[in-house]
């Protein structure tokens, strides 16, 4: 049997003193960029029950971001909506199943992903360490904003009830769920699975699997840059965003997760400020984080917080 995971694991990440100022500056830059949303029906993917649209909007540095938007064909005047965020190497899915449950659903492809890689394309592997020496140009500076701006797209949709917005994803999508819930006060409920981008420096010591192994590769080649890397990723570590989360949130982790070490999941959860928070741990599960069982819990969670009108 694998060894037990320390539930009181202490992350080595430290929050930079100017963390909030850094992100305030980023958001100010982003606010100056018009969203320019574009939504085109996709008849090939549209069915009797679900309307599918190809979406583009503009984000930081004027990068055009692609997404899929689905909504139920038969719907109330106002529907709740969920922002879906993708895994590190996953191609963002068309979220028909969410529309079938009654939500508007936006599945975003942040910069560098397929359909959002015309202006920014560091590749895989490489995305995790691209410009990792400089927080002002690091991959995830724009990548985070791309995700957060998905909320702006949903708020601009006349059929979306702005008081019933949720966010979810697993792995990188789990990490992005954390930062989105932290930075967008409009979020009413968040469900993060196997969160990546939480405890960067912890993870690369706890495991030697990709994608975190990209940082180990980088530091093996450039051992003198370790401190600079630590300083950069501290601005992007989900654990440092966790104290901004106040909405109801659930987190699920696998205790044998070979990609995002469960220790970092505990460290994250302990830092989340929300009082309405719940951690689900799945022994005997890896990076799936018990998805097979947990999906029903996520469905109930969002139904409770978003499906009933306020």
């Amino acid at each position: 049997m694998p060894k037990a995971v320390a539930v009181d694991y202490q992350s080595m990440v430290k929050k930079p003193a100017d963390f909030d100022a850094f992100w305030d500056g980023v958001l100010q830059q982003a606010a100056a960029v018009p969203l320019e949303p574009e939504m085109t029906p996709d008849p090939l993917r549209t069915s009797e029950d679900v309307e599918v649209f190809q979406v583009f909007y503009t984000s930081l540095e004027h990068v055009r971001i692609a997404a899929w938007y689905c909504r139920p064909t038969r719907r109330a005047e106002r529907i709740p909506a969920v922002l879906l965020l993708p895994g590190y190497q996953a191609d963002p899915p068309i979220p028909k199943e969410w529309a079938l449950k009654g939500y508007g659903a936006l599945s975003v492809a942040p910069r560098g992903k397929l359909r959002s890689n015309r202006q920014f394309n560091p590749g895989y592997p490489n995305l995790l360490t691209y410009n990792i020496m400089d927080r002002h140009t690091y991959t995830y500076r724009g990548f985070y904003v791309d995700s957060w701006r998905g909320i702006d797209f949903l708020l601009a949709r006349p059929e979306v009830d702005p008081t019933r917005l949720g966010v979810t994803g697993s792995s990188q999508g789990g990490g992005l769920t954390i930062t989105t819930a932290a930075m967008r006060s409009e979020i009413r409920a968040a469900a993060a699975g196997a969160p990546y981008l939480c405890g960067f420096m912890d993870a690369m010591a706890l495991t030697h699997t990709y994608p975190y192994e990209e940082i180990n590769d980088f530091l093996r080649a450039h051992p003198d840059r370790r401190r600079a890397v630590e300083e950069t990723v501290a601005y992007f570590d989900g654990i440092n965003f966790a104290d901004k989360i106040t909405c109801p949130i659930i987190v699920n982790i696998g205790l044998q997760d070979n990609v995002c070490p469960p220790e970092t999941g505990y460290a994250l959860f302990n830092r989340i400020r929300a009082t309405d928070k719940q951690l689900y741990t799945y022994d005997g599960h890896g990076h799936d984080a018990g998805r097979y069982k947990h999906n029903a819990i996520v469905d109930r969670f969002f139904a409770q917080h978003l499906l009933s009108e306020r």
Binding site: R45, S47, L114, G123, P125, D217, A221, G254, P261, D288
Partner: protein, 302 residues
């Protein structure tokens, strides 16, 4: 079931003959950033049918060899991984690994950039030009390349992946073991209407848009059905079935098991990356005579 086309052998022989008309012209460059003291990583460019230039990651363990080899066939996703996400990097200390991007995937997306979803139905109503005819050729070319490596132990060559693993090993001699998880090409015409999940939903989308093409799609899919390839496969095979009750569970795959010529182990998914992944790692190690697999597992599986 999809009827095996009468010209099935001819269709694939023509494909292989056409592939043979293009020399691979391998171009191999060391990638120092991803090399360690236990393995060296190379970027490999190869020519396939078309001609089309492909890309793959070849990792060679440090030491004299010969080594067992794992060939990771093209996946159904845009990203090409060095080794699958979550695999311990130390796997590269014991096996040669070769991961190939088929046409359309990253690093092999010029001039053809595939869409996901979208790839599965690209020209699916035209068997002669269906995109997967080229991708199968790509995958075969990858195995041909791997088999040329002098560091490789020809008695321990594993081909690992989705449907493409079985198809590749059936078309190209040299694989001693196959790990295959049917996803795209098993009884597709019958099973797709029973799900709304991608990638099979692509077929539903396509036929909803072009209902008059249903027979043409069925004809094309018949050339790719795993049951048609199975009699050609003699390698020892680990068949990764879905969890009981899912679309591709062990009972559903029964006809495939019956049709395979070599020794077959059927593993039913436990809906756990950990349990399923650990089983595969241990199975591969056992087949290759690696007795200390514990040392090359991810830390949280040890």
């Amino acid at each position: 079931m999809d009827q095996r086309p009468g010209d099935f052998e001819q269709y694939w022989q023509q494909t292989l003959d056409a592939l043979a008309g293009y020399p691979a012209c391998p171009e191999i460059d060391v990638l120092p950033l991803r090399s360690t003291d236990f393995a060296t990583l190379y970027g490999v460019r190869l020519t396939s049918l078309g001609p089309y230039r492909l890309f793959g990651y070849l990792s060679l363990p440090t030491g004299p060899g010969p080594f067992p080899a794992i060939y990771y066939v093209p996946k159904y996703q845009s990203v090409l991984e060095i080794i699958p996400q979550g695999t311990a990097n130390l796997q590269r200390s014991r096996y040669i690994t070769f991961a190939l991007a088929g046409r359309g995937q990253r690093n092999a997306d010029t001039p053809y950039a595939a869409m996901f979803p979208g790839l599965l139905t690209d020209d699916i109503d035209q068997a002669a030009s269906y995109i997967f005819r080229g991708i199968v050729a790509d995958s075969v070319r990858g195995l041909q390349f791997l088999l040329t490596r002098r560091e490789l132990d020809p008695r321990r060559v594993l081909v690992v992946g989705n449907d493409m693993a079985l198809i590749t090993a059936a078309l190209q001699p040299g694989a001693t073991h196959v790990v295959t998880a049917p996803t795209l090409f098993y009884n597709t015409a019958e099973l797709a209407p029973r799900t709304q999940a991608y990638p099979l939903e692509e077929v539903n989308d396509y036929l909803r848009a072009f209902p008059d093409r249903v027979e043409a799609v069925r004809r094309t899919l018949a050339y790719y059905d795993l049951r048609a390839f199975a009699p050609r496969l003699s390698a020892t095979t680990l068949l990764m079935a879905g969890a009981p009750g899912t679309l591709l569970d062990a009972p559903a795959l029964g006809p495939l098991v019956t049709a395979l010529r070599g020794q077959v182990t059927v593993y039913a998914s436990e809906q756990s990356n950990y349990k399923d992944g650990l089983y595969v790692e241990q199975w591969m190690a056992a087949q290759c005579g690696i007795t200390d697999v514990h040392n090359i597992l991810p830390e949280h599986w040890r």
